[in-house]
């Protein structure tokens, strides 16, 4: 338990998780870092709150923004002794993206990644559903989209190009 300076009493780790669920992914601001599986763990160590996060992609340019957003959110609840640590093991997988996040991603026209259960190579040739019309009749146009974590598809049914969040 962490003492809150404005005396609202003790803050539990669960409260912190809930607060972190407000911190959005800078590249997909409709989903939170918790829903994306980027925040892996929250611990209290010697009076400090340690937030363990893992990058979706090693070169993700948004990592620093995420870190400072996490700090800012916790500061807002009076917690300023915060360490944000990055861990690579186990490597982030798109299977960690929650059901709620998949729905929200689809609503903004981004196809969610196929669930692969460990080996994403196996699903790379599986059909991707168009987020606009739900057709399976789609074609991969490029394995790199507007960010390193997206691919470009074209829907042959509704003639709409769209991006997919890559399975990883």
């Amino acid at each position: 338990m962490v003492r809150n300076p404005d005396s609202r009493g003790a803050i539990s780790l669960q409260d912190i998780w809930r607060a972190l669920d407000d911190v959005v992914d800078p590249e997909i601001p409709v989903v939170s870092l918790v829903e994306m599986g980027i925040i892996r763990d929250v611990m209290e160590v010697g009076g400090r709150i340690v937030v363990k996060m893992t990058p979706t992609f090693a070169g993700c340019p948004a990592l620093e923004v995420m870190e400072s957003d996490i700090r800012a959110r916790l500061e807002k609840m009076g917690i300023d002794l915060v360490d944000v640590v990055r861990a690579l093991d186990p490597p982030w997988t798109s299977d960690w993206i929650s059901e709620s996040a998949r729905r929200k991603i689809k609503q903004i026209g981004l196809a969610p990644p196929q669930v692969h259960g460990g080996d994403f190579i196996n699903v790379l040739d599986a059909p991707v559903t168009c987020p606009y019309c739900d057709s399976f009749n789609t074609t991969l146009k490029n394995s790199f989209g507007s960010t390193p974590c997206r691919m470009i598809y074209y829907c042959n049914n509704c003639s709409q190009p769209f991006e997919q969040f890559r399975p990883l």
Partner: protein, 253 residues
């Protein structure tokens, strides 16, 4: 690990990072110039990936050398002269045409995936973890490159001619890819031996090329220089990539 091994592994990792960073810079030069918009975007993102990989390798080297994890990668990227870089010559060659850039990436990426497969088994855990992360991403790089081989190799007469010319020009620089890296001789069990990666690389590459009607030149003059020797293009490349950082050493970004 002992200090001597640490220093050797750091040297090895810096060489890996140098390959990635220089290739990243070359890829980034296509931004705004690639033949189609999708590839303009793709190459920019490939460059971002490689930049991230270079930073990971440099950070691991910093840890081994007891250097600052924030500052050391910047030091390596911005404040070394050409003679201090350890990348292979292949990655610093100017971009040439689209065929040359796509093929260069492909030849390099196939090797990288083979090497990462070995590094994932490293007895040095931080290295194995970083390799596992990077490996997954590199699979997409190879996929991207492999998709272009038949498009260009079997496309038009012109695209085939350009691909075969690019292959003839790049091939002499491939033997250097399989030289042992700096520090490698003392790292048995920690890293895969680089010469040991050649057979697998050759099998894959020759098969992919053949399916795109491309053939490695029968006679070529290998440019198998040590990694301490850089092409004359490195000075130009660095003067551009380091200009801003060197113009104001104290600046914070």
């Amino acid at each position: 690990m002992e200090t001597r091994l640490n220093a050797g592994l750091a040297e090895y990792l810096i060489a890996l990072g140098d390959d990635e960073l220089i290739l990243s810079h070359r890829d980034s030069e296509w931004c705004g110039h690639a033949p189609i918009l999708e590839e303009d975007i793709a190459f920019a993102n490939l460059a971002v990936d490689e930049l991230g990989h270079a930073r990971l390798w440099y950070e691991l080297a910093a840890e081994l050398l007891d250097e600052d994890k924030e500052r050391f990668p910047d030091h390596l990227a911005y404040f070394r002269d050409a003679s201090e870089w350890r990348n292979v010559q292949l990655v610093s060659l100017p971009n040439g045409d689209w065929a040359f850039s796509v093929l260069r990436r492909y030849l390099f990426d196939v090797l990288e995936v083979e090497r990462l497969r070995g590094l994932k088994q490293s007895s040095y855990k931080p290295l194995a973890e970083a390799a596992a992360k990077i490996y997954n991403e590199e699979l997409y790089h190879v996929r991207h490159g492999r998709a272009w081989l038949p498009r260009l190799g079997l496309g038009t007469e012109e695209s085939h001619r350009r691909m075969q010319t690019a292959l003839n020009d790049l091939w002499p620089f491939t033997p250097q890819l399989f030289q042992a890296l700096p520090g490698e001789s003392e790292l048995s069990g920690v890293v895969p031996t680089t010469p040991g990666l050649e057979a697998e690389w050759r099998t894959k590459v020759v098969a992919d090329l053949a399916s795109a009607n491309l053939n490695p030149p029968e006679k070529s003059n290998p440019m198998n220089r040590p990694r301490t020797q850089q092409t004359e293009h490195m000075m130009d490349l660095l003067s551009e990539s380091q200009m801003v950082a060197r113009a104001n050493v104290e600046a914070r970004w």
